[in-house]
Point group: C2
Chain length 165, copies 2
DNA sequence: CGGCATCCTTAGGGATACTG
DNA sequence: CAGTATCCCTAAGGATGCCG
């Protein structure tokens, strides 16, 4: 029965070689990302997650549970003064570290896939009010252009091959 | 027959309000991101895309076609001296602008979902060799922490709600 | 309000075999 | 090498209804 060994599973191969695949196994689904978008916008309650992410409640329930299991969200019971107890879902530190992914996605969507209606959201730096973008920066403080990357270890890629090389 | 009007479609609601959803409709699938990862690493040929992304050929063919249709990849015929003509897939400018998304995802995966085996890839700045990360930076040049964001227009969120507030 | 159970439909994806 | 065609299986997701 163990004939289906690890390497016969294409996914296993892929996972063993790149953490992008590993990340996608946790937050790779459209629904998961939409729920995390909502969490990053401040949504806390179950019904709001479902409605704002545009998901049916069974689906929202399933993915919220998975995200809690992955420790990207945490579920907590809270009570506002004079109110009854409610459940809330909050980003953990692990979940908050996905904000750059969401912001990078949103930037790209605004530029290339924006719908005609719908005002684009803008993220601002709280201290100065200026717009915030996801950028590539090296540890010496240089901002790196998309063509100024090389990878190591690996194929020794020097520049991203592209149409406009 | 038009009773299923636009707003009865949950996806339409979601798309009309956030470009993250729009972006996810183009590159939201696991397979699409894995193929784009390969493209960003320098993979050019069909069989290599399928093998390295860990996808069957029919699936790779389907998604490559969709990515070309979305103008994220471009397909081109080329011929190396003395060789027969081959097909290659290259990132377009639109596709290269997804690199921050891929890098942010990889960063997160390296930190939280890395597999034990498998050496993490490192992106370096070509000019100085220092490691490159995806960071949030405001237009005045400040690096913004994950808790220093606010969104506008919208709910007027001041800080990301989280466990460690 | 915050879900879960059920049922159903569709989309994604693998295996295999085949073509230019 | 670069796909396509066929078949089949599974995962994802919506609708409805029910429960603590």
């Amino acid at each position: 029965m163990a004939e289906r060994d690890l390497m016969s599973d294409r996914r296993a191969w892929s996972m063993a070689n790149c953490s992008i695949a590993a990340a996608l196994d946790v937050v790779g689904g459209r629904s998961a990302l939409l729920l995390l978008r909502e969490a990053s916008f401040g949504t806390r309650r179950f019904a709001d997650f479902a409605a704002r992410a545009g998901l049916s409640e069974p689906v929202a329930a399933k993915w919220l549970k998975l995200l809690v299991a992955s420790q990207v969200l945490a579920r907590r019971t809270y009570r506002e003064p004079g109110q009854r107890a409610r459940e809330e879902y909050l980003l953990t530190d692990k979940g908050r570290d996905l904000v750059p992914v969401l912001l990078a996605l949103r930037q790209w969507g605004d530029r290339y896939a924006a719908s005609a209606d719908g005002t684009p959201l803008i993220s601002r730096h709280r201290d100065c009010g200026a717009e915030v973008h996801a950028v590539l920066r090296c540890e010496r403080g240089h901002e790196a252009g998309l063509r100024e990357l090389e990878m190591t270890p690996g194929p020794g890629l020097i520049r991203l091959p592209s149409m406009t090389g």
